[in-house]
């Protein structure tokens, strides 16, 4: 592990999709680097998405039809693929939120002092 990563936490397994979907539902239209940045920024630098998980996840979500990728220009006039949420993605987000809420409540119950 590189030393600069030690202070950050791994993204809990199974939540990457939720984070990407949520980020896109908030910011509407982002490219890959921006998604990673957004997750890092909003989580106050606690969560960090590795590109090694980000891009396979994006590809998988494209395949599932949750995201749509369109090529556009960045402010610096560079070509980039911008991702937006599809209707199916919106539904999936709701579904994931529900699941997350259910699981985290359950976990909270277990670790709460009796």
């Amino acid at each position: 592990m590189a030393p600069d990563r030690s202070s950050r936490d791994e993204i809990p397994p199974g939540t990457l999709d939720l984070l990407i979907l949520k980020t896109l539902s908030r910011d509407h239209r982002l490219h890959g680097f921006e998604i990673a940045e957004a997750i890092q920024r909003i989580s106050a630098d606690v969560l960090r998405v590795e590109e090694g998980s980000l891009y396979p996840a994006l590809q998988r979500m494209l395949l599932k039809g949750w995201l749509k990728g369109e090529w556009g220009k960045t402010l610096e006039n560079r070509r980039a693929r911008y991702y937006t949420l599809t209707r199916a993605g919106q539904k999936q987000l709701e579904h994931e939120m529900e699941r997350y809420a259910r699981v985290s409540t359950a976990i909270a119950r277990i670790i709460q002092p009796a």
């Binding site: 490219h31 990673a36 590109e51 090694g52 891009y55 590809q59 039809g65 070509r79 980039a80």
Partner: protein, 883 residues
């Protein structure tokens, strides 16, 4: 997986290049932004791309493509090896495909009509006494039966009739030149009942039948061959036996009629004029006016859900009523009424019965050949993979997975099998065409969809076998071998060598069986070729002539033949000319109860075979006249009625007394005086037994029509065809020569099946020998290489070259002996199956088996020669330096 997902996945596959480029670009941007941010580092781009791409689930395809590409490179790198195994397999697959294709066409294929499983041939177990028949016994019906069944057919949805317009082919004229074509008269519902559509124009209708319209429908093949596939032929006149017909349609591609003896060229509605009589008969009464003449063949379509036997049982009473209606309504005392029987339309009727068994034998032969070919290829692949063990162990040592290795070997097998199948299928196409030509069956044997499926099934089976074969190579490769391998240890695998020897011995035993079978069939063919026909066929030409009856009376016909024979006799190079009713060697004969001195003779079969012949018959054909005289031009209609008989007739019915001056007949009314006795000669075909035979002068018989003209020429008979054609044209401009050929060729055709089977069996025997030789050669060569060091040591210790040669030779002889010990009983058992196809040779013929053994030893010796010489030329010093 949802439909949308599948669609996206496929879209990815189609536009993968673009997708991968996009992914690349995306990564580049990300990496750049990372560098700029400095806080972030970008990981392994290649791995990342790989993982992103994996999400689309097409990796296996990429891997397969990679494996195939690698295998292809490998196989191309060793073209000799690849060529030999692909060719070996292709020969095996091709032979199987070709024979199965013929089997399919002759035995299995259904008529190309709508719902062919419903279509049945309507046969009877016989026909009433006091009726007569033309065609095949039990297949012909009377007009009364036809009309009754046409009107009343419970169990069948349609009843169709077909009647040939001639034995063989009928004279046809389109444009200027007369030609011959096979033509059938059919019922109006023939095409609608079978469900055959027109490609051009229209098919026949019921009103065509009722009005006996002069219209004709062409077969697709005839239309393509003769009329260049132009629909403009419709509306044009076409003369059949001098009667003008109008072409109204062309039948669908593939439909070649329902006749047993080949494809039909054209169909017309049933005709009622005597000139266009059933079977080209010369009777002056149409078959419509002849209720006791059974000459119509029928085919029907079963109603859905009813079985053949049930339908036949329901139709039988109607059939029997109609059959006996013209005979006073009931059978004679003690006469058993015939019943109906329905036969399916699978295969070629007639040919199916004759060819099915030989085809099964051939199919077994090619199956064994495929076995030899496959085992050879497996051995070669294994030997090569053994030589590649070094490579394999290195691959595994540096972290390649065994699964990956196996996958690559399987890809290689798949490529080989696919290439061999494609080549084999191509071989089969060529082979079936050749077989069709040799078989004298005018049929298309080309592979169809069923055959393709069969071939693909073989291919899958072989691919599976070859997939499993490298399993051992892949899984048993020890990692540390890479470090230890030397030339000697890499090949030291005693178990594998032993397995190879067992396989070779088994191959030898199969090869012997095939060689013996081929030998027996070759002897059969020789015997058939050497059969004494009782005549001299050298220089003998035969062709048919069918004078058009509409314009001729009986006397005119005789005058026509008189002037024809006279004209031909006057041609330079023509030595003699005569005529006959049934062509020798064509299978057609007349057989009737005989009268001797006005009575049925006691003893013998009571039957006589007869033919109507022209003057100088015996002299022209070169049949020996035992005593008495030959027939003469003067034996005319008004002269005293005379006949010739053969030796067997004399023996059976005259008990050795002189038959000259005695009277014989084939009816109680007309008696012929015997004027000469001829030696026995062949009539139906070369395999027939001698039978009592009588020859009657054609001028003294009524109803003379189509005759066969025999011309004895000095030189090559076929070179006279043009002159003869010109001569006939001058006499009768519209008459084609029917089926002209040499008499020898006609006799040869009578054993076309045996000839075809023998040729194929010989070819397969040689093929098996060749494959076994290559297998043996490869094994011995391999063994010599393996033992190079050992041989070197032996020679260094004083072994002579002769001993080394003997060492290799002994290996091959041991295999040969092992093969023969198992092979001889196997060959004896297998050749029993051939019994019904053999002629003049017993299945257990010792000479043939000896020759088979000699051939096997010869094959083994030839295969041993090169490895033995190589072993003998090993230089001990160099061999030992290998270590």
């Amino acid at each position: 997986m949802t439909a949308g997902e599948l669609a996206r996945r496929l879209l990815f596959l189609i536009r993968r290049r673009q997708h991968l480029d996009e992914l690349d670009e995306e990564m580049r941007l990300h990496a750049e932004l990372c560098n700029r941010a400095a806080s972030r580092k970008f990981g392994n781009t290649t791995l990342l791309k790989e993982k992103s791409r994996e999400m689309w689930g097409w990796n296996w395809l990429d891997d397969l493509a990679k494996d195939l590409r690698y295998s292809l490179r490998l196989l191309r790198g060793n073209p000799m090896f690849t060529g030999i195994i692909v060719l070996t397999l292709a020969l095996g697959i091709g032979a199987n495909t070709a024979i199965f294709s013929v089997m399919n066409a002759v035995v299995l294929r259904s008529l190309p009509v709508k719902n062919p499983q419903q279509v049945v041939y309507i046969h009877a177990t016989g026909q009433p006494h006091h009726t007569w028949n033309t065609g095949i016994w039990g297949w012909s019906m009377s007009t009364g039966v036809y009309e009754q069944l046409r009107a009343e057919h419970p169990g069948l949805s349609d009843v169709m009739a077909y009647v040939p317009m001639a034995f063989g082919k009928a004279a046809v004229l389109y444009g200027r030149d007369p030609e011959e074509a096979s033509a059938d008269m059919v019922s109006g519902n023939f095409f609608t009942g079978l469900g055959v559509q027109p490609v051009c124009g229209r098919m026949l209708t019921d009103s065509d039948e009722t009005n006996h319209t002069a219209v004709a429908v062409l077969s697709y093949a005839y239309w393509s061959r003769r009329f260049g596939q132009t629909c403009s032929v419709i509306g044009h006149p076409l003369y059949i036996k001098g009667v003008p017909f109008t072409v109204v349609g062309v039948a669908a591609n593939g439909f070649e009629g329902v006749e047993s003896d080949g494809s039909t060229d054209l169909w017309v509605p049933l005709q009622n004029r005597p000139g266009l009589n059933a079977w080209g008969s010369e009777s002056d009464k149409s078959f419509y006016a002849n209720p006791q003449w059974w000459c119509i063949m029928m085919i029907g379509r079963l109603r859905p859900g009813i079985s053949r036997t049930a339908a036949a049982a329901r139709l039988t009473p109607i059939f029997q009523r109609a059959a006996y209606a013209p005979l006073g309504g009931k059978p004679q005392k003690g006469e058993k009424m015939p019943t109906l029987a329905f036969d399916g339309t699978k295969g070629i009727p007639g040919a199916k019965e004759v060819y099915e068994k030989p085809l099964r034998v051939l199919l077994a032969m090619v199956g064994l050949i495929l076995l030899i070919a496959c085992s050879n290829v497996v051995m070669m692949l294994n030997a090569r993979n053994a030589a590649r063990r070094h490579e394999f162990s290195v691959r595994i040592a540096i972290g390649g997975s065994k699964w990956r290795l196996l996958r690559q070997l399987m890809a290689e097998s798949l490529l080989i099998v696919a290439a061999a199948t494609a080549l084999g299928y191509f071989f089969a196409f060529a082979a079936t065409r050749a077989i069709s030509r040799w078989s004298a069956l005018d049929q298309d044997f080309s592979p169809d969809r069923t055959v393709l499926l069969f071939t693909l099934a073989i291919m899958s089976a072989i691919a599976l076998l070859f997939g499993v074969a490298p399993l051992r190579n892949a899984l048993k490769t020890p990692v540390n071998l890479a470090l230890k391998t030397t030339a000697a240890t890499a090949y030291s695998d005693r178990g594998r060598m032993h397995a190879r020897k067992v396989v070779i011995a088994l191959q030898m035993c199969i090869c012997l069986t095939l060689l013996v079978a081929a030998g027996l069939l070759l002897r059969t063919l020789q015997n058939l070729q050497n059969v004494d026909t009782g005549m001299n066929t050298q220089g003998l030409l035969v062709f048919g002539i069918s004078p058009q009856q509409e314009t001729r009376s009986g006397a005119e016909t005789i005058r026509f033949y008189e002037s024809l024979t006279n004209r031909l006799r006057s041609l330079p190079g023509v030595l003699a000319v005569t005529l006959m009713g049934n062509r020798l060697g064509s299978g057609g004969t007349n057989n009737t109860s005989v009268y001797v001195d006005g009575e049925h003779p006691r003893g013998g079969s009571g039957m006589v075979r007869w033919n109507t012949v022209g003057p100088d018959y015996l002299a022209t054909l070169g049949i020996k006249l035992e005593y008495g005289r030959d027939l003469r031009e003067s034996d005319s209609a008004n002269a005293a009625k005379v006949a010739l008989i053969n030796d067997t007739f004399t023996k059976q019915y005259f008990k050795g007394q002189s038959p000259l001056g005695r009277s014989i007949g084939i009816s109680s009314k007309i008696q012929f005086t015997v004027v000469g006795v001829a030696a026995d000669s062949k009539y139906a075909g070369v395999t027939e037994e001698a039978m009592p035979m009588a020859y009657f002068p054609y001028k003294q018989r009524k109803g003379i029509g189509t005759m066969q003209v025999e011309v004895r020429t000095a030189g090559n008979p076929t070179s006279f065809l043009q002159v003869i054609q010109r001569e006939v044209r001058q006499l009768a401009p519209n008459l084609p020569l029917l089926q002209p050929m040499t008499q020898q060729a006609q006799f040869d055709e009578s054993y076309a099946m045996q000839r075809l089977v023998a040729w194929l069996a010989i070819f397969f025997g040689l093929l098996a020998a060749f494959l076994v030789a290559t297998g043996l050669y490869a094994t011995l060569a391999y063994s010599v290489t393996r033992r190079t060091a050992e041989i070197g040591i032996r020679m260094a210790l004083g072994a002579q070259r002769g001993e080394v040669v003997w060492m290799v030779l002994k290996e091959s002889i041991d295999l040969c002996v092992a093969g023969a010990v198992v092979g001889v009983p196997l060959a004896l058992a297998a050749s029993r199956v051939l019994r019904s196809i053999l002629f003049g040779v017993k299945p257990s013929d010792p000479l043939t088996i000896c020759l088979g053994l000699v051939a096997l030893v010869a094959v083994a010796l030839v295969a041993t020669l090169i490895p033995a010489r190589r072993a003998a030329s090993i230089d001990p010093i160099r061999a030992l330096r290998y270590e």
